[in-house]
Amino acid sequence: MKVSRRRFIKMLSVVSVAFFIKSKIDKVFAKEEKKKKRYIMVVDINKCIGCGSCVIACKLENEVPLDAEVYRTWVERYIVTKDHKVYVDSIKGGIDAYKKNPIGKEIKKEDVIKTFFVPKLCNQCENPSCVQVCPVGATYKTEDGVVLVDRKWCIGCGYCIQACPYGARFFHPVVKTADKCTFCYHRIKKGLKPACVTVCPTRARIFGDKMNPNDEVYKILKNEKVNVLKPETGNEPQVFYIGMSKEVR
């Protein structure tokens, strides 16, 4: 078959235009993929009053037994004294609110430099060590950055509970698998806030998508001085703390 010069050039141009359009379409789709979400939480330590509402709300929402000494989120109390000792306690995770005051009894009031409450939860790490150690692939990170546990797949070996540097995982006494904070995945996917964020009376917890420039947390990360727990582990935790003192571990 002979191809005339005219015909050859025609074919060439059609093919090149087709390739050009295809590359453009690819780019558009690639951009849409890049609009991923990354859910994070910001905790303002200055605002936490230790009322423990978040702890109860979390247990009710996620059906963790109220009496069991396991918590998806909990509140710790820090007391720093003049001789640089740090006292940390968490009476039942703070579920009954903090009432008794150790200051003035075990610790002298004059010795106290500062004292404050720190709410804690799963940090939904960027490089979660719990996911790496799971032998059966029962725990994983979703596309929007939330680390979840597959309750049907988990064999309850407890490696992940050991591996978590924040002690955020526990053995669920009813389901009999490993369990942890899910950022209330069923709520956030329906446009609601996580249970702890909903009930916090002082807005000490703020939840959002850090990839969205219009989101509150995006602005906070941009403007505020924030810190994370144990950055040296390399886990890249995604729960950020405002006003965190170096004593907090």
Binding site: S53, L60, Y78, A97, Y98, I103, K109, V112, K141, A195
Partner: protein
């Protein structure tokens, strides 16, 4: 020899087929679609039903209109309904969605001293921006709701006892003064209502601009009613002139005036302090301009 090699290869092939068949049966189809996990588990988590409501304007406010309005105007606005009504209290704990489905069966909890004290008990670790009471001293056997309206706590419920519109005072004066009613009452015992009014509506009263939004006639009625009432003795503490001036003027801006003055006395000395508080460098100097230098000296001596 060839036979042996063939046999080993055969065993390996059979083993391989056997293992891959078992793997095909045991491992779910969606395992490994987006990573080393079962992809459908994400959907399983997503499909759980939320229990706390979280949005109140569309749900709670449709029935509890009055409470919603009060709450929306008060200082507790923004605290979710469920923080108080779903988590603790004298009724079994029900997350909001159950109550929405069957309001008469699933009653939300309310009115509990334990509940208020979760946030308002005095604690060293608790940030100072929140009002705190020592529960053992603050009406130990009383119910919080006898005196306070939890939906709008700035408005005390006791105001119903008064004939005049006393909420004007509590709403407008309490931001600066502590226990406004009792202070006015004590003042009304000593001075006649005209001179109190003169002071309140003069520039000497730092809250002049706030008071001037209240009608003078109304104010007069309030003060007259207060002077007729029995004074609660324990509320009036005997105070020297010094503490009165400091409390009324300096405390408007400073939280711990006396210790601040003592610090200043140490650093600047007696005359230095006096000069400073009267100079333009002190933003509040206009508030003490009507007090003579001699009186200020007395005050500083007493503080010292």
């Amino acid at each position: 020899m060839l036979n042996q090699v063939h046999r080993v290869i055969l065993v390996i092939i059979v083993l391989f087929i056997f293992v891959s068949i078992i793997r095909e049966i045991v491992v779910p189809e969606d395992f490994g679609v987006a990573g080393h996990f079962r992809y459908s588990n994400i959907k399983e988590w997503e499909q759980l039903e939320p229990k706390l409501v979280g949005e109140y304007k569309e749900t709670c406010a449709t029935c509890h209109t009055k409470q919603f309005k009060e709450w929306n105007e008060g200082i507790h606005a923004g605290i979710s309904c469920e923080t108080c009504h779903a988590l603790v209290g004298n009724v079994e704990r029900y997350p909001g969605r159950l109550h929405l489905s069957n309001p008469s069966k699933y009653k939300m909890s309310k009115d509990s001293r334990e509940l208020c004290l979760r946030c308002h008990e005095k604690l060293e670790s608790r940030p100072k921006f929140i009002k705190q009471v020592i529960s053992e001293q603050h009406a130990p056997k009383g119910k919080c709701t006898t005196c306070h309206n939890p939906h709008n706590p700035i408005k005390p419920l006791l105001i119903n006892k008064y004939k005049t519109n006393i909420s004007l005072i509590t709403n407008k004066c309490n931001p600066c003064h502590v226990g406004t009613i009792y202070r006015l009452q004590a003042l009304a015992k000593e001075k006649d209502s005209e001179s109190i009014l003169d002071f309140l509506y003069s520039v000497r009263h730092p809250g002049y601009s706030v008071v001037s939004t209240i009608e003078k006639e109304e104010m007069k009625k309030i003060i007259e009613e207060l002077s007729e009432r029995k004074v609660e003795e324990k509320r009036i503490e005997k105070k020297t002139g010094t503490t009165k001036i400091i409390e009324n003027r300096c405390n408007v801006c400073h939280s711990d005036t006396i210790s601040k003055l003592r610090n200043s006395l140490k650093i600047r000395g007696f005359d230095g302090t006096l000069d400073f508080i009267l100079s333009d460098k002190h933003p509040g100097s206009f508030m003490i301009k009507d007090i003579s230098r001699e009186t200020l000296k007395d005050i500083l001596n007493e503080v010292k």
